[in-house]
């Protein structure tokens, strides 16, 4: 059983504090309640795992704040990183950026 840390009540991601492999059972504690899910991908130490499904363009929430949006559909248990998340701020690459 591997642990992840979920920081804010409204967060939809948790942080791995140990290396997690696909298929492993993962637990986190939020508001005193322990929840369990299965790793749908490898999540190395320091990386994030989705604890809920996140739809394309839906916000990724950590620390109770929006840290970006899903750029691909994300299932609970998947690793969340640059391959499936885009930032909102400082986007000079977007058309109409001023």
């Amino acid at each position: 059983m591997k642990a992840i840390v979920v920081i804010g009540e409204a967060d939809n991601v948790g942080n791995a504090i140990e290396d997690i492999c696909t298929g492993e059972s993962v637990v986190y504690t939020l508001n005193g309640k322990t929840q369990e899910l299965k790793a749908m991908g490898d999540v190395p130490f320091g990386f994030k795992m989705a604890i809920k499904d996140i739809a394309v363009d839906a916000p990724v929430v950590k620390y109770g704040e929006v840290i970006g949006v899903a750029s691909k559909p994300i299932s609970a248990g998947e690793c969340v990183h640059i391959h499936n998340v885009a930032g909102n701020r400082g986007r000079g690459d977007l058309k109409g950026a001023k």
Binding site: V5, I7, N15, A16, I17, P44, F45, G46, F47, K48, V60, K62, Y63, E65, V66, I67, G68, V80, H81, I82, V85, A86, G87, N88, R89, G90, R91, G92, D93, L94, A97, K98
Partner: protein, 400 residues
């Protein structure tokens, strides 16, 4: 909580006692360099050339020069220059030389224009005066003072997820304690509040200071967009991305934890001395080559480099030893793996928060203790090296 520090004529307290060789312009640098090499326990800052720079950048250079002289870790100052009046309004004798003499510290000066023998006479005069200043500085004794007499700065770097979870909150606890005790605390890195700027903005008491802060954030975000690139390809840096941080917003939300919970008194320019105690934001680039110098000019006696380090290879030596010039750097990490790889170079670990579920408050109290030890004379690992890092002032304008 107390430490033993050097109480200066202006009442500020230093934790080291350097003789500062301080050129008022780059032109005297070759001579100044030689004086600094010969005088024990001296530090030297050779400024960039102020010629052809706009008023804002000139003011930044002048502020850094004068601020270093005022830093409480400086026991005595030898000003050197080709002329005592540098020419630009920010570099006149009144604005710079007189201002440094006004600190009340042992100060002396040598200007080439006053030496009939030119550079060769100036070199000898400067060496003699510097040696006398060094001896005068050594007469200052440490006294027991309260933690609240300290001024500190913090930079977080090589951030990873542990920065926001462990390392930065530990610094935040320290800063809460420092400010509660009447001390002065500074954090910075304007790019790395983007995404958390609304949270920081709420904490300003003064509307004008809040506007200054938000204007700085807007300026940096506009500069980012003007590159035509996604800022994620620039900052977060590769070391952050490879360690698991995904967006600038995520990095910033973890970064602001280092500021603790106290209200913000002001938004400072680079190298600007805070008008009073409390917590302050400094509008500055995040690079360690510039920021620790900026904190030193603003009066920081001890600056923290809070490292994530997920990207570090094994047994990595820390990238800077003395980037604060007169201000030592306390290296710490909240990442147990980083600590295991680099503990020989670290001054503090907050990694027990993750590896042993240590409460943040407990790690914070340990950090307060460590700060008092280093302030009282324990060396940081960086200070065990005879290294003077290449440091630069954060300048924004064009070269004209």
């Amino acid at each position: 909580m107390e430490f033993q520090g050097y109480v200066r004529p202006d009442g500020k307290v230093g934790i080291r006692n350097y003789t500062l060789i301080l050129p008022n312009g780059r032109g005297i640098g070759v001579l100044a360099d030689q004086v600094a090499k010969l005088v024990r326990n001296s530090k030297i800052f050779i400024p960039p050339n102020e010629n052809g720079r706009d008023s804002e950048d000139r003011a930044t250079i002048a502020r850094t020069i004068v601020g270093l002289a005022k830093n409480p870790n400086v026991g005595a100052v030898l000003i050197m220059g080709i002329k005592s009046n540098g020419g630009y309004p920010e570099f006149t004798r009144e604005a710079m030389v007189d201002e440094i003499y006004a600190t009340g510290k042992p100060v002396d000066s040598v200007f080439l224009e006053d030496c009939p023998g030119g550079a060769y006479e100036a070199l000898g005069k400067a060496l003699l005066k510097a040696r006398h200043l060094a001896r005068k500085a050594s007469e200052c004794r440490r006294e027991t003072v309260d933690l609240g007499r300290l001024c500190m700065g913090v930079k977080c770097g090589y951030s990873d997820a542990t920065s926001g979870m462990a390392g930065n909150p530990t610094v935040g606890y320290l800063f809460d304690r420092l400010v509660e005790a009447g001390g002065t605390a500074m954090f910075a890195e304007t790019t790395e509040v983007i995404g958390a700027d609304h949270i920081v903005a709420r904490r300003f008491n003064d509307d004008k200071q809040r506007e200054t802060f938000l204007a700085a954030v807007k300026r940096v975000e506009d500069e980012a967009k003007a590159t035509g690139e996604d800022i994620r390809t620039i900052n977060p840096i590769p070391a952050n991305i490879q360690a698991g941080l995904t967006t600038l917003e995520e990095k910033s939300l973890g970064a602001i934890a280092k500021s603790g919970h106290m209200p913000l008194s002001s938004s400072l320019r680079y190298g600007e001395i805070p008008a009073g105690p409390g917590l302050h934001f400094m509008d500055s680039w995040m690079s360690s080559a510039t920021l620790f110098l900026g904190f030193a000019a603003a009066g920081s006696a001890l600056s923290i480099f809070q490292v994530g380090g997920g990207w570090f290879p094994d047994r990595m030596m820390m990238p800077t030893a003395s980037a604060g010039l007169v201000t030592p750097t306390l290296y710490m990490t909240g990442n147990p793996r980083t600590y295991a790889k680099t503990n020989m170079d670290m001054d503090f670990s907050a990694s027990e928060i993750i590896s042993q579920r240590e409460p943040i408050e407990q790690a914070g109290e340990r950090l307060v203790q460590r700060v008092c030890e280093l302030a009282s004379g324990h060396l940081t690992m960086g200070e065990t090296l005879n290294v003077d890092d290449n440091v630069e002032i954060y300048l924004r304008g064009p070269g004209l």
